[in-house]
Amino acid sequence: MIRVSDEPIVAAEALSEFERRVSDAGAIVSFTGQVRPVSAAGPVAQLFLQAYFPMTERGIETALQQAEQRWPLSGALIVHRTGEMHPGDTIVFVATASKHRRAAFEAADFLMDYLKTEAVFWKKETTDGGETWIEPRQDDYQDAARWQTKEAG
């Protein structure tokens, strides 16, 4: 299940909803991404996330299908914010469920790497120094490339 909206995310509620949905799974992993209070440019006042509907959801849906083909998942939930956020706000919540922990951990990791480098979002950070559009770091691309290596091998 995928939700992309400007509604605030309450990770505990999202997890509890997911746990009820996959109550017989055996293993549930969740990841919460928050707005950091300080970036390379200094203290962060605001983060703005822009999406392109319906391309953003369509892309996430495809990544979710890839995860489902690759790992035996009993369920997955991806919730992503758009709009204006402040330090401490949740940007993204990903939860995966499987019979055993390894598949759930790996699928959540894979989905987060997709969201960081390929999901159709643009991020603008506001600090004392002004506004800056943030694009993925080299580290993010290297993280995402790990899954291609594994597929090829």
Partner: protein, 82 residues
Amino acid sequence: MVKVIYFGRLSDVSGTSEEMLDLPQGLETTSDLRHWLDIRFEANGALLEPTVRVAINSEIVLDTSSLDDANEIAFMPPVGGG
């Protein structure tokens, strides 16, 4: 009229996040449009960068793609959320 959307840092280059445009005669491909807009905004190549992708009617297209059936054209710099 075609709706043209500039995402991310490209909205700073164009000065707008979207606009309705009457494309001039002679623009046939995505590449033609990139060059025409780059000159129009004095963007110094910002719209020509290979990492900037173009979507027509919400599908990523090649630079050789035709603008014929375009209702909505989006200029997309590198993406990333999370």
